[in-house]
Amino acid sequence: MKSKARQVSVLFIVAIISAFLLSFVYKETKPVILEYSSKELNSSLRKVFPDSEVHFKTVKYDTLWRVSEGNRYVGIVFRYGKRGYSSIIRPIVGVDSTGKIIKILIPKEGLSETPGLGMKVTEAWFGQQFSGLTEDEIWLRCDNENGKIDGVTAATISSRAATAAVREGLKEFEDYLSTGGHGESKWYSDDVIRLSGMEEVEEVVKDKLWKGKDRFVYLSYKKGFISKVGVVVSIHKDTVLGIHIQRPEEGIEETPGYVTRVSSPEFENRFGNVYIGDIDKLDALSGATVTSEAVKEAIKLGYEELIKERK
């Protein structure tokens, strides 16, 4: 008995030391890793929007970035995907405020077209053809008489898909482009209306606050356990009608957070038709206390902003 206990305790000690060692290495390397990925992102963005004076703000994670010089809106960068031969091609496209393409970039990562053929769309010469083109000209020469793009020889499917991705992406983000600075709220609008059940937006009161016929809707953020949690709140006077918690793929800020468990209808339903003063009394989701509290905080903070506006 004694020796068995001793044996197991050796195992335990080794395990504990290992855990300490690893958490140490993790703590040291985590910031370096995070910094690298944001540097990488920035460098890709800068490749398609080469002005060094501008800075980028993520509007939708890995999909849309707003480019500004100081406070002035100067363009967007978007990513749009179209199925190629054997993978989805997602060019990164920089567009100026008039809707003209500055540059595009088709990254190799995540792309698995035919090596030596379809993969050639990632080469510099292919992307360069897109600069300065208008929407009508973004077609393969063989597909449309206005088209100015030469595809890769013997890789028509990949070339066509890459071209379509740029063209259709341009169309998709047209609204955002044309409304520029205030487009942000409008961009949120469609998603927000859909998610909150509001029938139509009567007035965009301010960034992230909308007024509807029978309610207000606001989008509010609070830091959860790992990252920010975003909550869309539908409210009538002082009763919360319902909420929607941002899913990682709906990321509207830079880092989509891990909120998988909290962002479930089961948890969201708890907030249906609750008086704002009673929000605190609601149960947190077991195993996700910090994040649940963040959701409640977000709701309350947004409400305070709403009150300030209404005065």
Binding site: A19, L22, S23, Y26, S86, T260, R261, G287
Partner: protein, 194 residues
């Protein structure tokens, strides 16, 4: 339909042995006879499915919420090793028939990179529970079929005139190269990519 495509992808197009290079040690070690190949393949199906499910749960409900992702490797491999030990004892006592058929392969499976590899791939692909199970079973079946095919060919090779330097492992590798070449042909099948 989606699950069917997932099955095809893991079974053929992205066969874990011939395309992803997982599970090669047993692939060359155990494929001399078709019977042993089948035995190993069945054990792998068993262990791979169970371990993928267990590691999935551990990941979703413990590692992720507690921000312990860096312990992934340590935890997963310990789970797999323990699972294999447990299965060995369980089979020995409860299902002796099964033990005599599959049991001997179990210890070898712990260091089968395919088991841990599939567990990792599963997590990295962000599958839900059902998809994870399909993925695990399909991958294991892919392993089985690669193994059986290899065994079949090797049994024939026994009687073939092979240059002395290539006898044994080298000719097996050349065989594998040809098999991999054939399987490469599956890429693009039903729109599935490598």
């Amino acid at each position: 339909m989606n699950l069917f495509l997932l099955f095809l992808s893991a079974f053929l197009v992205n066969n874990i042995v011939l395309m992803r290079f997982l599970g090669l040690c047993p692939f060359f070690g155990v494929s001399a006879k078709i019977e042993t190949a089948i035995g190993m393949g069945m054990s792998v199906i068993f262990v791979m499915t169970l371990s993928t499910i267990i590691t999935w749960f551990l990941y979703q409900y413990i590692l992720l919420p507690l921000d312990l992702l860096y312990l992934r490797t340590v935890v997963f491999i310990l789970v797999i090793a323990s699972l294999v030990q447990f299965l060995e004892l369980f089979f020995k006592k409860q299902i002796p028939g099964l033990y005599s058929a599959l049991g001997i392969f179990l210890p070898l499976i712990t260091t089968n990179c395919a088991i841990l590899g599939v567990a990792f791939l599963n997590i990295d692909s962000h599958f839900g529970l059902l998809s994870s199970v399909v993925f695990a079973v399909s991958s294991a079946l892919g392993f089985l079929i690669a193994l059986v095919l290899m065994a079949g060919i090797r049994e024939r090779l026994e009687n073939a005139p092979i240059p002395k330097a290539l006898k044994g492992l080298p000719i097996s590798f050349i065989t594998a190269a040809l098999m991999a070449l054939a399987f490469l042909g599956f890429s693009g099948f039903m729109g599935l990519s490598l």
